[in-house]
């Protein structure tokens, strides 16, 4: 302060300021300063507190509410889309399993039919084969019987020619033995 006073005094020029106190501490104007400070400060305070600040806070609050509402709406729509997606996936998987079931059923049915047809044809073939085999064996037996008869007749004729008398029963037995030996 002494430095400031010194500055004030050294810098002052002309008679008017030589004896005056440093202006920042001059009590002459204290009352005026305090009075007008009170007037303007209180005026500013009431104008701000009554009108300006409530309006500002109202605007900020409205904006915050609007943003919150918009976010809520967005979340709601998002949930909706997620649910729709889930439903879609569920129906897709249902359809897929149904399709698989149908395909399985169709395949099983076809396989069963195929097996039945195969069995039927096999049985038929077996039956035909059996008949054919029976006929063949019968034919063969018949043929063998004829061969025996021919052999007996031939043997009779040969023995007759040789002058040997042989009974028919012996001849038959001999032919049979020869045939059995060959077989």
């Amino acid at each position: 302060m002494s430095l400031l006073a010194f500055l004030a005094e050294t810098a002052a020029h002309g008679g008017e300021t030589v004896k005056a106190p440093f202006p920042a501490f001059d009590p002459t104007w204290f009352a005026s300063q305090l009075f007008w400070l009170a007037v303007f400060f209180l005026g500013l305070y009431f104008a701000l507190a009554r009108f300006v600040l409530p309006k500002l806070s109202d605007t900020l609050e409205k904006r915050a509410n609007r943003i919150a509402a918009d976010l809520d709406e967005a979340a709601r729509l998002n949930n909706q889309s997620v649910e729709a997606q889930k439903a879609l996936e569920l129906r897709l998987s249902q359809a897929r399993s149904r399709a698989r079931e149908t395909a399985d059923k169709a395949r099983e049915k076809t396989e069963a039919e195929l097996a039945a047809e195969t069995a039927r044809v096999d049985a038929d073939l077996a039956r035909k084969l059996e008949t054919a085999e029976g006929r063949i064996s019968k034919l063969r037996a018949d043929a063998m019987k004829n061969v025996e008869q021919i052999a007996v007749d031939t043997a009779e004729a040969m023995t007759a020619r040789l002058g040997v008398k042989a009974s028919k029963a012996d001849l038959k037995k001999a032919v049979k033995a020869a045939l059995e030996k060959r077989a």
């Binding site: 810098a11 020029h13 001059d26 104007w29 005026s32 300063q33 400070l37 701000l48 309006k55």
Partner: protein
């Protein structure tokens, strides 16, 4: 009772103190007090008027999507509200309009004072001291209203042994009493010193040029530019510090037991 506006443009002499001088524009004595409308009152009117105009325009629009000035007003609102909330707590928001007014009153006065020929109302101890005393009276008043005698627990921190109390309590009381003085002095001294420094550098420029040393006048001239920028920063910073300390003191009134 004549309004002498030419007096608002004083002869800027080579006197760094001249800018702090108060002179009446409109003489008025009431109840024995000299309540003249002075140059200080005039510039206080200008700064509060500008602040009110800015905030009024910013607030009146009220658009969902703010334009620049509205955005600036809302930023100011948020800035001060956050400061009050983080320093003095939710309950401190009761004093939000007061802190907001304090900040903008001081900021307006400081910034207006930065313009040539303008008067810096916050460079006078009567103004800053009165504001500081009002802050402390509100702190003490609300502290006692809210906590009763418990408010004086502020001077006796918890968990301190009794012998230490004998030293600590007087120290706490002195530090509390120093608050209005430091609060008012800080703002006043910053504004006063800043303006003297600017004025002295400007005077150097003029004097050196006048003495035919124009080449040397470049030194204070170039120094003047960053210091002017610094003074704008100080103008904001001191308003902020005043408002912030007000919040800190209000916290003591709300919760006196630390």
């Amino acid at each position: 009772m004549t309004l002498s506006f030419p007096a608002l443009l004083p002869n800027i002499a080579t006197d760094p103190i001249h800018q702090f001088k108060i002179f009446p524009l409109l003489d008025w004595t009431a109840a024995g007090y000299n309540l003249s409308f002075t140059n200080s009152s005039f510039w206080m009117m200008v700064s509060t008027g500008l602040v009110l105009a800015f905030l009024g325009v910013a607030a009146s629009r009220g658009g969902l999507i703010p334009n620049r000035i509205q955005s600036l007003g809302e930023l100011s609102y948020g800035f001060i509200a956050d400061m009050v909330r983080s320093t003095a707590g939710e309950e401190g928001l009761k004093f939000f309009p007061f802190v907001f007014t304090l900040f903008f009153f001081i900021l307006g006065a400081n910034i207006v004072g930065m313009f040539p020929y303008a008067f810096t109302t916050t460079s006078h101890i009567a103004v800053t001291g009165a504001l500081a005393i009002v802050v402390i009276l509100i702190v003490v008043g609300y502290g006692i209203y809210k906590n009763g005698l418990g408010f004086f627990g502020l001077f006796a921190p918890h968990g301190v042994p009794l012998p230490v109390m004998f030293f600590l309590v007087p120290i706490e009381i002195i530090s509390f009493l120093a608050r209005p003085i430091t609060l008012g002095m800080r703002l006043f001294a910053n504004m006063l010193a800043g303006h003297i420094m600017l004025k002295l550098l400007a005077i150097f420029v003029v004097m050196l040029t006048g003495a035919g040393l124009a080449w040397a006048a470049w030194v204070p001239y170039l120094l003047l530019i960053p210091i002017t920028a610094l003074e704008f920063l100080v103008a904001f910073l001191q308003a902020y510090v005043f408002a912030l300390l007000t919040c800190v003191y209000l916290k003591d009134a709300i919760h006196p037991h630390h």
